[in-house]
């Protein structure tokens, strides 16, 4: 079925109807989550009790809005802290990996590349428990040996950051490598001929070229870190990131305050995601002109 080959009209309409139904299916859960954030009722369910903004700005129980719900605000802060660390680390290591795999040939390169892809096929829960088990036994051994405490190796934010970093780095490496592969090395050679140092050429020529990929992978890393659940669940200590807090609240029984948080999350992540895509395509277009 392609546009240049005629098909019966009926088949065409059936196909279109299926596509339409699919997109409704895709949009439905997100739409209801957003709509019920404005329902003037203590349950995010039917019937519709009228429009309210109390779930965002309310200050009186039971209508305590997101912006006044301390547990949620604190966990947003925790998530942001984790996300910035994860994104920074992942982009730094990802950039190194890109240079390593694109610029260097060495024995075992294919094997190392395959190892780098492994985190993609390890389920998040397993990644979480393996890091949990390893760091705990390390902490036990160190504490037995030295008699000091190693709290950083117990469940907590450091482990959450390391756990998320362990698989998000693969994504960052792939995105940045793809961009570096398109780079024309003669530009760097020209800089060297003009008297630049090796590091100067990389800083002035190569890194600016990589910038769109670096920004895009930083944004995607932040998004992935913010919404990660499986790995985080196993490594979390007393400070819980947003998804864990929301999950706990959801298990206790949901109120529209969760809808309000979700709405904010949807808006922010859709905006960030679109931005990262636009940034990448715009740069590409400018270069192809």
């Amino acid at each position: 079925m392609i546009p240049t080959v005629p098909q019966p009209a009926f088949a065409k309409w059936c196909y279109r109807a299926y596509v339409a139904v699919f997109f409704i299916y895709l949009a439905l859960p997100l739409t209801v989550v957003c709509v019920f954030a404005f329902n003037n009722s203590v349950f995010p369910s039917m019937p519709w009790e009228g429009f309210t903004l109390a779930w965002f700005f309310g200050t009186e129980a039971p209508f305590i809005g997101v912006f006044h719900e301390r547990a949620i605000m604190r966990s947003i802060g925790t998530s942001a802290f984790v996300a910035i660390w994860v994104s920074g680390l992942a982009v730094a290591v990802g950039t190194c990996n890109a240079f390593l795999f694109v610029r260097h040939d060495f024995r075992g390169k294919a094997f190392l590349y395959m190892l780098m892809l492994l985190p993609l096929i390890i389920p998040g829960v397993i990644l979480g428990i393996s890091i949990l088990v390893f760091s705990s036994s390390l902490a036990n051994a160190l504490e037995d040996a030295t008699g000091m405490w190693f709290d950083g190796l117990r469940p907590g934010l450091i482990l959450v950051i390391l756990g998320q970093f362990s698989f998000i780095t693969t994504f960052a490496s792939l995105v940045i490598s793809a961009r570096l592969q398109k780079f024309d090395p003669s530009l760097e050679e020209a800089a060297l001929n003009l008297g630049a140092t090796k590091w100067g050429a990389i800083r002035q020529i190569t890194l600016p070229f990589l910038l769109p990929a670096i920004v895009a992978s930083a944004v995607v890393s932040i998004l992935m870190s913010f919404e990660n659940f499986n790995t985080t669940l196993m490594l979390v200590g007393s400070d819980s990131p947003l998804t864990i807090t929301m999950f706990d609240k959801l298990k206790q029984g949901s109120t529209p305050v969760l809808n309000a948080v979700s709405l904010l999350l949807i808006v922010v992540s859709a905006a960030l995601g679109l931005m990262s895509l636009l940034f990448q395509t715009k740069k590409n277009q400018r270069e192809s002109v």
Binding site: Y15, L117, I121, P123, V125, I126, V133, M234, G273
Partner: protein
């Protein structure tokens, strides 16, 4: 020439990746395996043995949950492929320009939203006081409230929903690279819709199909939120059991054995998928 500095640069680039992979991936998984083959014989005293794995095979609840998780994940993968393929084909072949970009972006947006939010949306839709139940009552199709949450069908809806984008995106990418003239040639040579699909489109899309299936299967197998929230208390999912052993029961040895079994299963499926389609991990995953 400047081989000394470039060697130094090489090792400086090699250090972070080795540190990352050895400390966060390789050693933890070796550790996981070691814990899974140790038996507690006294306080802080362990012996090596396969007791934890024996427990798994002797307790029907454990291995049945394991099998159930695997089978449900396979069904979810198949469903996702069947439902997602026409969409990917539509986006790749039947739309152009701006429509194509818009549809593709519409597919991507739910993927950026947290899985928790998506699952929450399904809870609002499917529960007894939910939107669908109320709509059906309003239309007079049912007499009283219907509970659609907390069963396997709900889990399936949720699993397909969370993972369909990981199927559609690689499919669109591979189908995009199929030249329309090949399909036209197929029609010119007297091919029917079915035979062209089978002989031209599907073989060409195979890399996308395989990488989509691998990712979807893995995501379903390792999913925790969807089965727990949509399946209710009685629904059993293997990741839920791992969580129980680790966090509730504090039996890390058995939990590690469970984790290792799940890892083996998912690796086997990935390996089988790659072998069947004669592809390597590098080319399949590197594409995404």
């Amino acid at each position: 020439m400047a081989s000394d500095t470039s060697r130094l640069g090489f090792y400086l680039l090699l250090a972070p990746i080795l540190l990352w992979l050895v400390v966060l991936i390789i050693l933890p998984h070796i550790g996981l395996f070691i814990v899974s083959i140790s038996e507690r014989v006294g306080p802080r005293a362990y012996e090596i043995g396969l007791d934890n794995y024996a427990t798994f095979f002797n307790e029907p609840l454990y291995w049945r949950t394991f099998a159930r998780t695997a089978i449900m994940s396979m069904i979810a993968t198949l469903l996702t492929l069947v439902l997602g393929f026409p969409i990917a084909y539509y986006i790749a072949k039947l739309t152009r320009g701006r429509t194509k970009t818009t549809l593709f972006l519409m597919c991507m947006i739910p993927f950026w939203v947290s899985e928790l939010v998506r699952t929450f949306g399904w809870m609002i839709l499917l529960r007894e006081t939910g939107v669908i139940s109320n709509t059906l009552q309003y239309l007079g199709l049912v007499a009283g409230p219907v509970e659609m949450l907390y069963n396997d069908a709900a889990i399936m809806v949720g699993l397909v929903y969370t993972s369909i984008l990981f199927m559609v995106v690689p499919l669109v990418t591979t189908l995009d690279s199929l030249d329309d003239s090949l399909i036209e040639a197929g029609y010119d040579l007297g091919g029917t819709n079915v035979s062209i699909m089978r002989e031209i489109v599907i073989p060409h899309a195979m890399p996308g199909i395989v990488s989509g299936c691998i990712v979807v299967f893995m995501l379903s197998l390792g999913n925790y939120l969807t089965p727990i929230l949509l399946g209710g208390k009685d629904s059993l999912w293997f990741t839920g059991m791992i969580y129980t052993q680790f966090i509730t029961r504090f039996n890390w040895e058995l939990g590690s054995a469970f984790g290792f079994l799940l890892l083996v299963l998912s690796s086997l499926v990935v390996f089988a998928g790659l072998k069947l389609s004669r592809q390597s991990l590098t080319e399949t995953m590197g594409r995404t």
